[in-house]
């Protein structure tokens, strides 16, 4: 067992860090202030293949392993959590399910545009009446000859306003239970596909979140992802992978808050000494460092398990739950260390706090994460 990052992984971290600091550094506060996704950033992200992180070269991807993926998202998030989310969702629940469950024709048709960033991908499952209760979705697809007719709506769709390719889950009328769902690959130009307004959010304001409305969309059968009855399985497996990205995003936010806290506390003089010399502050730093290291190691193990091809639902839930919780705690303590300065928008610390909170909510709330973990434990997967 070797706990050191390989040379390759260190190069990934170094490269993405340089990129993020150079390109996203100046854009992050603007994206947050204006609550707008940056197409300029998107173009630059395409140059480093960030839109096709784990897709094979054959379809235009960078073919990275999952640890590299986690490092990439973390490093982007360290500078801009909103961009990290956009990239994470695009890759993990947008591109990946097409690669994993798609037919060869679908892969060849959809993936090259997705990996090149020409088309941004999204994943839409949540509905007004189906949040944690994922099975309660009401969007309905009815078979009509060689097409399906889809009606319904989705809410809180990350990348909703910028995506061209959207994976969605819908009820399929004739089947009941877990088998009664179908996953489709939709194109925003399909007739009857409507995009709602951008949501006004607490954090991750540089990412686009919208509702989607489906009015009698006629979906050709070649746009079904996987088997007709596999919709639920595809959705849940996509989320397992998505949680790696969210955990990485949370760790990136935590890392940024922590670094700012260390630097600030070393330079801030009160009572004639740097506040880092007071245990009240230095112990906070110690706690931050410990939490980040734990979360990161847990995430790397999850990524390792995924690449090994063994079940990792429990571990990915643990990673997402723990990383998001410590990110919120660390961002909160970072403001405490910065005092009034941390509360002002002149410093990015308050943004970390706003950005961190949502990681406890999406890709399954932390309560759902604990439900998944405990279910696995009680099934005997100790």
């Amino acid at each position: 067992m070797d706990f050191e990052l390989s040379e390759k992984h260190r190069l990934v971290r170094r490269s993405v860090r340089t990129f993020a600091e150079d390109i996203l550094g100046p854009l992050a506060p603007i994206m947050d202030r204006e609550a707008k996704f940056s197409w300029e950033a998107a173009k630059e992200l395409a140059k480093i293949n960030a839109w096709g992180l784990q897709i094979p070269e054959k379809y235009g991807g960078a073919d990275l392993d999952s640890i590299s993926y986690a490092i990439t998202i973390e490093e982007i998030s360290r500078i801009c959590a909103a961009t990290a989310l956009t990239i994470s969702v695009h890759n993990s629940v947008g591109a990946y399910p097409i690669y994993k469950f798609g037919t060869e024709e679908q892969k060849e048709k959809f993936l090259p545009d997705i990996t090149s960033g020409k088309k941004i991908a999204a994943f839409a499952w949540t509905e007004p009446n189906a949040g944690s209760d994922a099975g309660a979705i009401e969007s309905l697809a009815i078979e009509d000859g060689d097409v399906f007719i889809l009606n319904g709506s989705k809410i809180f769709v990350t990348n909703g306003g910028i995506a061209s390719t959207v994976l969605i889950g819908a009820k399929y009328q004739t089947e009941k239970g877990e088998k009664g769902y179908v996953a489709f690959i939709l194109d925003k130009n399909m007739k009857g596909f409507e995009v709602g307004e951008n949501e006004d959010k607490l954090g991750i304001r540089g990412s686009s979140t919208t509702s989607l409305y489906f009015h009698d969309i006629r979906i050709p059968k070649e746009n079904i992802l996987g088997n007709l009855n596999d919709g639920f399985k595809i959705g849940m497996q996509a989320l397992d992978v998505g949680r790696i990205g969210i955990a990485a995003q949370a760790i990136g936010i935590a890392q940024a808050a922590y670094e700012h806290s260390v630097n600030y506390s070393k330079g801030r003089i009160q009572f004639n000494k740097p506040i880092s010399r007071f245990q009240g502050i230095s112990f906070k730093l110690a706690e931050m460092a410990t939490k980040i290291d734990s979360a990161r190691l847990l995430l790397f193990r999850t990524a390792f398990l995924k690449d090994k091809g063994v079940p990792f639902s429990k571990e990915t839930a643990m990673s997402k739950y723990y990383a998001s919780q410590i990110a919120r705690e660390i961002a909160q303590e970072a403001i405490q260390i910065h005092g009034g300065y941390g509360y002002m928008k002149d410093l990015p610390v308050e943004r970390y706090y706003r950005d961190a909170k949502v990681t406890e909510l999406y890709e399954g709330t932390n309560e759902i994460m604990k439900f998944i973990i405990s279910r696995e434990i009680l099934r005997g997967n100790l």
Binding site: E7, V12, S15, T18, F19, I48, N49, G61, D63, L64
Partner: protein, 268 residues
């Protein structure tokens, strides 16, 4: 097809330098090493040439085994081949010894059109190798290029420095020393990283290069680093007390002490 070579060096990251206080040597570990920042401009220049004129780029470095990571980084950036010049006998080489080894390397390679270098290294700051190599290989060296083009076996460029410019034309092969910020180096594409680790690194050592006896970095380097020390910049703090008049007077006194009073008065 142009045969382009780029000389790069691995240097320790300077934001967290640690020095062994007993021996005065830098403590190097494999984690905090980077490609010498100036050399990145040289790599980018090579990539630009290849994009415009075609060619094959080989990056080479002389250094211990951990220098391999910098060669992988060059490959990830888009460089075609890399050569690692490495042998225990090359350690502690000064610039002249380094040049002699490079000379042997290029004599072994035989065919080269363009050799590109950065300006200076972050860890020693001498900037001598391109000049010495030009002498050793008896080929021209061009610095401070501004605009350039290749035409058959000629390299044409405009050099800019200070208030004048020169138009220069030389026959290949040529050494080009690239200045800081000559270009904007590209970011490493993630797709390049996987490929970089699949490529083979060619290693050239003392025997393979058939080096003459005069090559012996430790014993025959004319320059020896006796000691390395950390430079500490201490900030001085003074609280100026008294009436406004006294305070202003004190500020003027300080300016006088540091000789900045005159310059300031001139500006006014």
């Amino acid at each position: 097809m142009l045969k382009i070579f780029v000389l790069i060096k691995q240097v320790p990251k300077t934001d967290n330098l640690q020095i062994n206080l007993k021996t005065g040597a830098l403590i190097r570990n494999k984690i905090d090493n980077i490609i010498n920042p100036d050399d990145i401009f040289a790599l980018e220049f090579a990539l630009t040439i290849r994009e415009k004129y075609g060619g094959v780029i080989t990056a080479m470095t002389m250094g211990p085994s951990q220098a391999e990571s910098s060669l992988r980084e060059a490959l990830a950036m888009g460089i075609d081949h890399v050569i690692h010049i490495s042998d225990p006998i090359f350690s502690y080489s000064d610039t002249l010894q380094t040049t002699l080894v490079l000379k042997e390397t290029f004599e072994k390679i035989k065919s080269y059109d363009v050799i590109i270098t950065g300006s200076v290294t972050l860890d020693s700051g001498t900037g001598q190798v391109p000049y010495q190599l030009s002498e050793a290989l008896q080929i021209p060296l061009i610095t401070d290029i501004f605009i350039f083009e290749f035409e058959k076996d000629k390299f044409k460029c405009q050099r800019n420095f200070g208030h004048e410019s020169q138009d220069i034309e030389v026959n290949l092969p040529v050494i080009i020393r690239i200045g800081k910020h000559f270009n904007k180096p590209r970011h490493i594409p993630l797709s390049g990283i996987k490929k970089a680790f699949e490529k083979k690194i060619e290693i050239m050592d003392f025997n393979l290069l058939n080096c003459p006896d005069e090559i012996d970095g430790c014993n025959k380097s004319p320059t020896q680093v006796i000691k390395t020390d950390k430079l500490v910049h201490k900030r001085k703090n003074e609280f100026i007390k008294g009436s406004i008049k006294e305070k202003i007077q004190r500020i003027f006194d300080i300016m006088k002490e540091h000789g900045i009073e005159k310059r300031w008065m001139q500006k006014k």
